[in-house]
Symmetry: C2
Subunit: 337 residues, 2 copies
DNA sequence: CTGTTAGCGCTTTCAT
DNA sequence: ATGAAAGCGCTAACAG
């Protein structure tokens, strides 16, 4: 491996001079600058960023910790983060917690030992609190994205889950539905609680009684909803619509409905939080509350970098609105039902 | 920042002893081991992997260089890579070239300066050759994924594009189509050439003349196919089916068709390479040649790690078959057309 | 079983 | 404008 000393020797200067031309720092005569540059080319010299990090105490690496890299929401978010990171000269370490606190914990340790300059952190749940506190204790700046964690104060970028949920449910109510089921994410996750709050608010606002039987909790990953649906469909006043708390939950519901020979929206309306990106272009089907995922990531990295530069500033909280996109999966309830 | 020396001092041992308990290396009395461990806990000591990398000349970091992180194919591939990396104790640096050679070049420089132990490399095109050569010249192991680059010999994991394309086109022919258009990726990319070869082979095998008018080249990203489609639809013997060389191209086609008021498959059959994952569950619509994306990433990282351990071994080439999945977007041609 | 020395590749500080 | 010395946090090699 060619080092700064190899370059120095060949160019008949000191290592310090080479370092200066690499970093464009200090005063250097144009002549030696050119000479050094030439030698660097000849030797195919590439600075060792690890060595640099060690002395500078900064790695120019950011961690992107998300809970599901296969979910288009996080994928688009990652793209936004990547663009911003590249723009500001940061590298991105990818961590996928898989909605799993154990994996998250492992990644936090990895993050700590990597001495990253900051973390864009989508918490797996409220119990992520200790992980976040660990980061804080080690002075690692972070910004929470997509989800809040009670007891943690930091920069934050979240969507307005409650309002988005309310819009979605009121849309269903507007179509005549009054028996609306909620298949929610884990209560451990702030967005799930908020979405349920929005759901309940919408019911209240429209004088509909909340029925605990119609509220179920699942993970935020795809799952088999068959048993759940069978229970709901056996009810004497069965639900005519389902609000799924995220896109993958909706996918699970729809698949189960299909397997049971039921059609959407004819037999059951389905709406959900988060769009399915390209999918929805293909077959504009799912009625959703869409969030600006790219901005979550892009703004997140920007906030993070500002935080790194000024650790003392007051934490900022950015709340993006959710946008109701009405498509085919929700339909007016035939009054004779 | 607490270092190995802080721990050593507080535990009344040398730094070397601490290093030994961290790495479980050498012989240490159980007593001192416990003492050191206790002090590490008390001090919240976390080893600095940068310092470690510097002396070990190995970073335990792998680069994942893909061309489009928003494409479900690469997203699933990334997931596979992430799982394998985590399993083997490697971290993953995320690089998204965006099908752009300039960005790819930047990332290669970044990769070089990061001194990663290896790269999982999905080349943006044949011109990636110089980037790959640069890696080779610097002794950075890599395995090519998804795409080949002429002139580069290395470990490789690709899909059988030619055969997949042939299957797709023969499926259309079996449905009675004889005027089949191809909307291809850039000729600069090996998969595009292979898919075209498979398309042509299928035509030949079935005695259908190839019509250059029906072959178009685009990027591998979503695009507006309106102009192209208008040209095709004006022809006296217009195509009745389109083979899109990847999923995003298909999305572009279908969106344009919809905007023009045409329906799939009634007015035009559409098939493509690469599935749209979760999407297809939602609305099993698109007929595709599906590739095992997760395995591309997972096996890729495994190959890469083996390569790192044994740089001398012969390069291996793994070719995954493509699987034809017939859904709704392709239909039998009404004979009266 | 444990400690000392030297050095990984770089930059900061202080000289010249 | 340039260089020498020291040190970032760690471990290999050797010594005891």
């Amino acid at each position: 491996m060619v080092t700064i000393y190899d370059v120095a020797k060949k160019a008949n200067v000191s290592a310090m001079t080479v370092s200066r031309v690499i970093n464009n720092t200090g005063r250097i005569s144009e002549k030696t600058r050119q000479k050094v540059k030439k030698v660097m080319e000849e030797l195919n010299y590439v600075p060792n960023s690890m060595a640099r990090s060690l002395v500078l105490q900064e790695t120019k690496i950011l961690s992107l910790l998300i809970t599901d890299i296969t979910n288009p929401f996080y994928t688009t978010l990652a793209r936004g983060a990547e663009d911003a990171a590249k723009q500001y000269g940061y590298r991105l370490l990818l961590c996928n917690s898989d909605e799993n606190l154990e994996k998250e914990k492992d990644y936090v340790d990895m993050i700590l030992s990597t001495r990253v300059d900051g973390v864009l952190f989508a918490p797996a749940g409220d119990s992520s609190r200790e992980h976040l506190e660990k980061l804080a204790q080690h002075n690692v700046p972070f910004v929470m994205i997509d989800r809040e964690v009670p007891g943690i104060s930091s920069d934050m970028i979240i969507g307005n889950s409650k309002d988005g949920a309310r819009q979605l449910v009121e849309h269903l109510i507007g179509l005549g539905h009054r028996r609306i089921a909620l298949i929610n994410g884990p209560h451990e996750v702030s967005t799930a609680r908020e979405r349920q709050a929005g759901y309940i608010e919408a019911l209240k606002l429209n004088g509909i009684d909340e029925d605990p039987e119609l509220i179920a909790e699942a993970g935020y990953k795809t799952f088999d909803a068959t048993v759940l649906l069978e229970r709901w469909l056996r009810m004497h006043d069965r639900p005519t619509a389902v609000f799924a708390a995220n896109n993958f939950l909706a996918v699970g519901i729809i698949r189960s409905l299909r397997n049971m020979g039921l059609r959407v929206p004819d037999d059951m309306s389905v709406v959900c939080f988060d769009d399915l990106e390209h999918v929805s272009v293909l077959e504009p089907f799912l009625t959703v509350a869409s969030q600006p995922a790219y901005s979550f990531g892009n703004m997140g990295v920007r906030l993070l970098i500002e935080r790194i530069r000024n650790k003392g500033a007051n934490p900022r909280k950015i709340i993006f609105p959710a946008q109701l996109i009405i498509r085919q999966s929700s339909a007016r309830l035939p009054s004779a039902k």
